[in-house]
Symmetry: C2
C-alpha cells in the first residue's frame, strides 16, 4: 500500500523526523529531489542537513534539472535503493514539466504502488502529488478566474491539494477548483502540517490543520465565465493532528 | 416584516441606489448614523452626498457621539420620520458601546420590527446587526484565539456576520466563530455585496458573494484552549447576487 507524506510547506523538525522514521530511521536511505526549486543546490543542502539532523545516515540528492536527466537510466537504481524520497518546494510546474512521463516518473509510480518507499513532498512537492494540481491563482472570491489548474503526477488521484493553506488564505481558490471539478476532493494543508496516506485514508500530522472541501454533494453549482460562482451544499471539515479521513467515503474517520 | 440591508463594505452606486429605492426613492427620508467612524463628519458628508446622487432629496445625519446623545429624547422623532436609516463603517464596538440599550436602540428595534423603516449598515454597520458580533481576529487558522466576539445589537438574531469577507480572507475567523457557537449561522459578506432580508430569508445583492458557513449539522466539534479546532461536517454555500437563503431552514432557496 502506498505511503505518501504530503506537507503544506515549512515543515518543522517533528514532521521531518517523522519522515525519517517512516523511511527506516537510522537505516533510512533518503533521496532528495529539488527539481521544483529555482536554487536546487541550496534546497538540496538544506534538506540533506535537516534529515541528517533527524538521524538519517544515508542521504543524497538526485539532481534532475531537465528531461534528459529524468530519462537517464542511472536514475532507476538510485530510486530503487531509496526507502524515502523527498520532493522540495518551489514551482510545481517545474516538477511536471521535467519529470512528467519520464523514466523517473515511471519508476516513482511503480515504487509508490508497491509500497516499497515513502514518497514525501512539501509545498510544490505536495501540490504535484494530486490528480488535479493548482498551478496558480490568488484572486479574491470564488470564480473561474480565481484558480488555474493542470494535471498533477497523480500519486494521490481524486484530490486537489493546496498548501500554505491558512497562512495564505487560499480557501477561495480551493473552493473555485472543487466547484469546477466536484469529483476532486479539495485538501488544504497548512504549513508544518501533513497528511500521511494509508491506502484510501489519511491521518493528519503537524501543528496546523487540513481543511477538506467536498463539493460532491453540492446541490447547486453554477460557474459563469466571469463573476462569482454559486456553490450550494458544499461540505467542509477542519482536521488537526490525529484526525483521519477516508478518501473515497468522503468522511472523517475515527 | 423587518427589512435589513447588510453590506460587506465598499458599497458601489448600485447598492447605495438600491437602498434609496427601498426607502422610497425621491420621497425617501434618509438618516445617516456615523457613530462607528473615527471621523464622523467626513463619513456623514460622504454618505449624504452619495444618497443625494442616488436621487434622495431628504437626507440628514444624526450625530450620536456618546450615550447622552443616544438617550436624548430628540432622537426619537428624527428616527420615526425616517424611511431609511444607514449605519456607516468604522469600529463596531463603538456602535454597541454608544447605542446599545439606549433610547435610540429601543426606537430602532421598534421601527425595524414594525417594518416601517429600512435599516442598512455597511462594514461595522453590518457587523453590529448580528446576534453575535465579530469584534476582531485575524490570526491564521481555525482556533479559539482566531476570533473575538461579543453581542451585536441583534437586529438579525441567530447569525454572526463578517464583512470584507473574501477581500480580507476571513473564512478562518468565521469558521472559528461557528465552531464556538454552532447555533449561529455564519454569513461572510464580500465588499460591494449585501444581503437584503425579507422576514426569515435573505437575497444576495451586489458584485461579490455571500459565504454561508453552517456548523449546525457538524458531527464533531472540538475546541481546545489553544491550537487548531476540529470541525467535521460543516456545510458551506457560496451565493452570488440573485441567490436566496432561508435562515431558520438553513438552506438555499429558489
Amino acid at each position: 500500500m502506498s505511503t505518501l507524506l504530503i506537507i503544506g510547506g515549512a515543515a518543522g523538525p517533528a514532521l521531518l523526523g517523522r519522515f525519517v522514521e517512516l523511511a527506516g530511521g537510522p537505516a533510512a536511505r533518503i533521496v532528495v529531489i529539488a527539481t521544483a526549486s529555482s536554487d536546487p543546490a541550496a534546497a538540496e543542502a538544506e534538506h540533506l542537513a535537516a534529515f541528517r539532523e533527524q538521524g538519517a545516515h544515508h542521504v543524497e540528492a538526485l539532481r534532475l534539472d531537465d528531461r534528459t536527466a529524468a530519462n537517464d537510466p542511472g536514475v532507476e537504481p538510485v530510486l530503487r535503493a531509496a526507502t524515502g524520497i523527498f520532493f522540495t518546494g518551489g514551482d510545481q510546474e517545474r516538477i511536471t514539466r521535467v519529470i512528467g512521463g519520464t523514466a523517473t516518473d515511471s519508476v516513482l509510480q511503480t515504487l509508490v504502488a508497491s509500497g516499497d518507499v515513502v514518497l514525501a513532498g512539501t509545498s510544490a512537492g505536495a501540490a504535484m502529488m494530486s490528480g488535479t494540481m493548482i498551478v496558480e491563482g490568488d484572486g479574491p472570491g470564488v470564480s473561474r478566474t480565481s484558480v488555474r489548474t493542470g494535471p498533477g503526477l497523480e500519486f494521490l488521484p481524486g484530490v486537489v491539494i493546496d498548501q500554505h493553506f491558512c497562512e495564505r488564505g487560499r480557501i477561495n481558490r480551493l473552493l473555485s477548483a472543487v466547484a469546477l471539478y466536484p469529483h476532486e476532493l479539495g485538501l488544504g494543508i497548512d504549513e508544518d502540517t501533513a497528511i500521511l496516506t494509508d491506502g484510501d485514508a489519511f491521518e493528519v500530522l503537524g501543528s496546523g490543520a487540513v481543511t477538506v472541501v467536498d463539493a460532491g454533494r453540492a446541490t447547486d453549482i453554477s460557474v459563469p465565465a466571469t463573476g462569482p460562482i454559486t456553490l450550494s451544499g458544499c461540505r467542509l471539515h477542519v482536521l488537526p493532528a490525529g484526525r483521519a479521513f477516508h478518501l473515497t467515503g468522503r468522511e472523517p474517520s475515527a
